[in-house]
């Protein structure tokens, strides 16, 4: 017994040593010397003395742990979360739920050992009766450092499996408990693709019609979002939830390349600046509650915490259900009473509430979820619009709603019915008169040949002449906007010259007439976003809106404010997202454009809000919605979770737009990576790319570092993306206008104004 106690103290010391990573040496040295001393003395002591000595040392450990707990830095918490002794999902299943069956996993014999799915139940009491309440538990399994678990990094197929069982839970009408223990998604592009699968998960989860509760211990960016779009999000007090790991942020800040390491001080500083702790996330509103852990974080022997966790997940699941079930005044009363009782220590095991939802409650649940995410990150952007202009926006929103309803729902449907009715009468009459007057017309035809054979030259030409591409699609090099690069008197080398034998091109030709396309191999050189603005859309049709919304520095990230101001001054833009209405061949559409020249086209709170507003505008005005990505490097890391939360927010907006019957098109250009592709871009059913662009989840360096495989140079090329099924087509830059027009005519839902 005493030996076991001593062993546990040694474990506690090792744990502290790992967590502090060499810091706080004074306290650790004290513990180490006492432990060593006791280890030497222990065999010489009597049982009573031994017990006393161990109790004294245990008290000292508690004292030191208390002291260290108060001084924990964000990076210490990151180390706590990653420690093999930290509680993992299997421990939670064993200790929180009363019974469970793991689905599709037996150690390494699993589609993805990093994802654990279980059907579990919790036993509650209703008077003398016991009730087993089923839930679908989905989460990441780190397995206390087991190598097969990949540190909880879910592969695309693991996320696909998670989504599949969420849909099963939806069919079975049982709540989902999602446990997030991941440093990030495993960055491979193999089908279904890391980014595309996360996007699919977000898209589907936005409308899952059962209560979803997410509990976050380690929330690493996109990997966390893949299962954490939930009605309520709780967070472990020593957990972290961030857009990027502190090491990743430090590598970017310190410009570290080729697997090099940043200094520990810089990593520590980045962890501080990313505001990744539970308290910060609660303050910013990205989690709804904190689960207080024991000192220095929960480990698998902290059974009190497990009890607390059980009580909390029961309370929160009940709360989600109560919010949407029953009649509103009674619902509010029940919620109030439940909260009051919980405060006075109500044991949630002794109360029972059914978790099944009716279809109307399910609709309310989804609507509440959408509203919840819509409200987030409001303070993380600069919106200089005053009350009057906001009121004007509200009024015009209302007017669009109203006029669209009158024009398209009310009037056009009636009009269509009337015109269908008259159309049928007309065709019947024509058929009748044609039959009756046929002999007379034949006679006239014989007497006066011109009367019978009426032929137009145009129709004849259409039937007999070959179509001429140059007359239809080509602008014969007469572009409305010519790139500044065309003003330089120099030759340009095609990157494919060595393999394809392309000749050097003169810049004025290449960037002018040839629209930045190599005449030999068709390689597309990157062009400015203005080229697309002026050459794709009808002349003078662009009307920008919400230009006032400005990117900000919500976390006060060191040096970022200056960088942001520089980007604004250099580009003349206030954020990387440009939203406008335009038309192509007289078909109006709404466009959200991510501009690569503004901070690499990264997405933060301002960009997310502008994107959502654009999709809402497209929905209200019954217009097609195009997301044109001139280039994006991902989510803006300096905005922390304010940036990463745009992934579910924008995906929900897209889902609402598509469900309302719109057409959501995505067009990738140059390079598009990470968060945006793994959410609101990757969820579109119609994704296209301009030739020679790259699409993916993580850059080649990150993939090589994570997976240890050397990537082929064309790993992220759009042709590969097409072969993997991630995009639906590749377009020539010179034909984008024609192809978009064609897409608007042939694709899309029921609610487009021109259909």
């Amino acid at each position: 017994m005493d030996d076991k106690k001593f062993h546990l103290l040694t474990e506690r010391y090792n744990y502290m040593h790992d967590v502090l990573s060499g810091k706080n040496n004074e306290n650790l040295r004290l513990l180490s010397s006492r432990l060593e001393e006791l280890g030497r003395r222990l065999p010489l002591l009597s049982p009573a003395e031994r017990s006393d000595a161990l109790t004294t040392l245990e008290d000292l450990f508690n004292f030191v742990e208390n002291k260290i707990e108060a001084e924990l830095t964000p990076m210490d918490k990151v180390r706590i979360v990653r420690h093999p002794q930290r509680v993992c999902l299997r421990d939670i299943l064993e200790n929180v739920y009363d019974n469970y069956t793991e689905i599709g996993g037996m150690g390494e014999h699993s589609l993805d050992p990093a994802i654990l799915i279980a059907r579990a139940y919790i036993t509650r009491h209703r008077g003398k009766h016991t009730v087993n309440q089923s839930v679908m538990v989905i989460g990441h399994e780190k397995g206390h450092g087991e190598e097969i678990r990949n540190g909880g990094s879910a592969s695309p197929w693991g996320n696909a499996k998670a989504l599949h069982y969420m849909k099963v839970a939806e069919i079975e009408n049982i709540p989902i408990h999602a446990y997030v223990f991941t440093p990030g998604s495993y960055p491979v592009e193999d089908s279904p693709g890391a980014a595309q699968q996360i996007a699919k998960n977000l898209y589907e989860m936005s409308n899952i019609r059962v209560p979803v509760l997410a509990v976050i211990s380690e929330g690493g960016s996109g990997g966390a979002e893949a299962i954490a779009l939930a009605d309520r999000r709780l967070m472990f007090s020593h957990g972290y939830y961030s857009v990027i790991s502190p090491e990743g942020a430090a590598a970017i800040e310190g410009n570290v390349k080729n697997g090099g390491a940043s200094s520990p001080a810089l990593v520590e500083k980045c962890a501080e600046q990313l505001r990744l702790t539970a308290e910060e996330n609660l303050r910013m509103g990205y989690v709804d509650g904190i689960l207080q852990e024991p000192n220095l974080g929960v480990r698998c022997y902290h059974y009190d915490f497990m009890h607390h966790l059980r009580q909390e997940i029961l309370r929160v699941t009940d709360e989600i259900v109560l919010e949407v079930r029953g009649i509103e005044p009674f619902r509010s009363m029940a919620r109030r009473s439940r909260r009051k009782k919980t405060r006075v220590g109500l044991n949630m095991d002794t109360v029972h509430l059914r978790w099944e939802l009716s279809s109307s409650a399910q609709e309310r649940l989804v609507e509440r979820r959408h509203k919840k995410f819509r409200k987030l990150s409001a303070k993380a952007r600069v919106d200089p619009r005053n009350t009057w202009s906001l009121l004007k926006t509200r009024l015009s929103d209302f007017w669009w709603d109203f006029s669209s309803y009158i024009r398209y729902d009310l009037f056009r449907r009636r009009q269509q019915k009337i015109s269908n009715f008259f159309g049928e009468i007309q065709s019947e009459t024509t058929f009748f008169f044609k039959n009756q007057t046929a002999p007379v017309r034949r006679l006239f035809g014989r007497l006066l040949p011109r009367f019978g054979a009426k032929s137009s030259g145009e129709a004849e030409k259409q039937l007999t002449a070959l179509s001429d591409w140059s007359e239809t699609k080509s602008r014969r090099g007469n572009w409305a906007y010519i790139s500044n690069k065309a003003m330089e008197d120099r030759a340009v080398v095609c990157p494919n010259a060595a393999t394809h034998g392309c000749l050097d091109m003169w810049a004025p030709d290449l960037y002018g007439e040839f629209a930045g396309v190599c005449t030999h191999c068709g390689h597309h050189f990157p062009m400015e976003y203005q080229w697309y603005l002026y050459n794709i859309f009808d002349k003078g049709s662009i009307r920008e809106f919400n230009a006032e919304i400005e990117a900000a520095d919500p976390l006060g990230y060191e040096g970022f404010g200056v960088k942001l101001e520089k980007a604004k001054a250099a580009t003349g833009l206030k954020s990387s997202c440009l939203t406008f209405e335009a038309s192509i061949n007289n078909i109006k559409l709404v466009v959200a454009m991510l501009v690569a020249t503004f901070r690499g086209g990264s997405v933060g709170a301002a960009e997310g809000e502008k994107f959502i507003l654009a999709s809402e505008r497209a929905s209200k005005k019954r217009l097609p919605f195009l997301a044109y990505t001139h280039g994006t490097a991902g989510i803006r890391i300096q905005e922390g979770v304010n940036g990463v939360i745009q992934m579910p927010r924008c995906t929900i907006a897209v889902r609402r737009y598509i469900d309302a019957g719109g057409l959501y098109l995505v067009l990738y250009d140059t390079s598009s990576y990470a968060g945006p592709v793994a959410s609101f871009l990757g969820c579109s059913p119609y994704q296209f790319a301009i030739r020679s662009s790259n699409v993916g989840f993580a850059g080649p360096g990150v993939i090589q570092e994570t997976t240890g495989t050397v990537l082929a140079p064309n790993y992220h090329s759009v042709y590969k993306a097409l072969a993997r099924g991630h995009i639906q087509g590749i377009w020539d830059r010179r034909e984008v206008s024609f192809n978009l027009h064609q897409a608007m005519l042939t694709m899309g839902g029921r609610n487009l104004y021109y259909k």
């Binding site: 330089e488 008197d489 120099r490 030759a491 340009v492 080398v493 050097d504 050397v710 082929a712 140079p713």
Partner: protein, 215 residues
């Protein structure tokens, strides 16, 4: 073909010497860090994604183009008189020497000593059953082939047809395919040599394997 003599010839001069010529006209500048006798590296990496040593650059119409070493080797001489001058396309700016690798020597010997029978199309290839048994039991070198002999089965997309060997008579010295993988068109299936030369070839190959320094 006297293969031993060929090997001696290669040993006497185990280099491939070549000139580096500019791809087009322009003003040439040499890499100032290079001098005659320096070692050069060719493209490296699994995908040859890392460029070789930078030798020089050439500028035409304000377009700067780098010239890199295409093979591992040694810089013999630099034509310094062209430095900073406008040169015509094809002007030789450097002379380099590439030390042949063990594999390259073997390939050269094979090219001169064996008759390579190539795959006509992309497919999986097998020996016909009786030859297959013989190869498995007693080795490929026990199989004699002659022109018009039915030797292979081509298998592709559930279609199996026989393929006849065409070429000089001899024994199979080397087999370059296996039943698991597709063979691209033009890739060798077998290498055939006259029975009398078999021992001599083996002896020479062994000498290369053991004596030739590693790459």
């Amino acid at each position: 073909m006297d293969i031993s003599a060929l090997l001696e010839e290669i040993k006497a001069s185990p280099y491939v010497e070549s000139d580096i010529a500019v791809p087009h006209c322009g003003v040439v500048r040499f890499n100032s860090k290079l001098k005659a006798g320096d070692k050069l590296s060719g493209p490296r990496g699994q995908w040859k994604e890392l460029l070789g040593t930078l030798l020089a650059d050439i500028e035409r119409e304000r377009c700067l183009k780098n010239i890199y070493a295409r093979e591992k080797g040694e810089l013999v001489s630099i034509n310094y008189e062209l430095a900073g001058k406008f040169v015509e396309a094809g002007a030789e700016i450097m002379h380099v020497r590439h030390f042949m690798s063990r594999n390259e020597v073997l390939q050269t010997l094979l090219r001169h000593s064996l008759f390579l029978f190539n795959a006509p199309e992309k497919a999986k290839y097998y020996f016909v059953p009786n030859i297959d048994v013989k190869v498995k039991n007693t080795g490929a070198q026990s199989v004699s082939v002659h022109d018009g002999m039915e030797l292979f089965i081509i298998s592709r997309m559930k279609r199996e047809t026989t393929l006849r060997y065409t070429g000089p008579d001899g024994v199979i010295y080397a087999v370059y395919f296996d039943a698991e993988h597709h063979v691209a068109p033009g890739q060798p299936l077998i290498g055939v040599c006259p029975p009398a030369q078999l021992g001599q070839i083996e002896d020479v190959f062994m000498r290369v394997q053991t004596e030739w320094p590693e790459d």
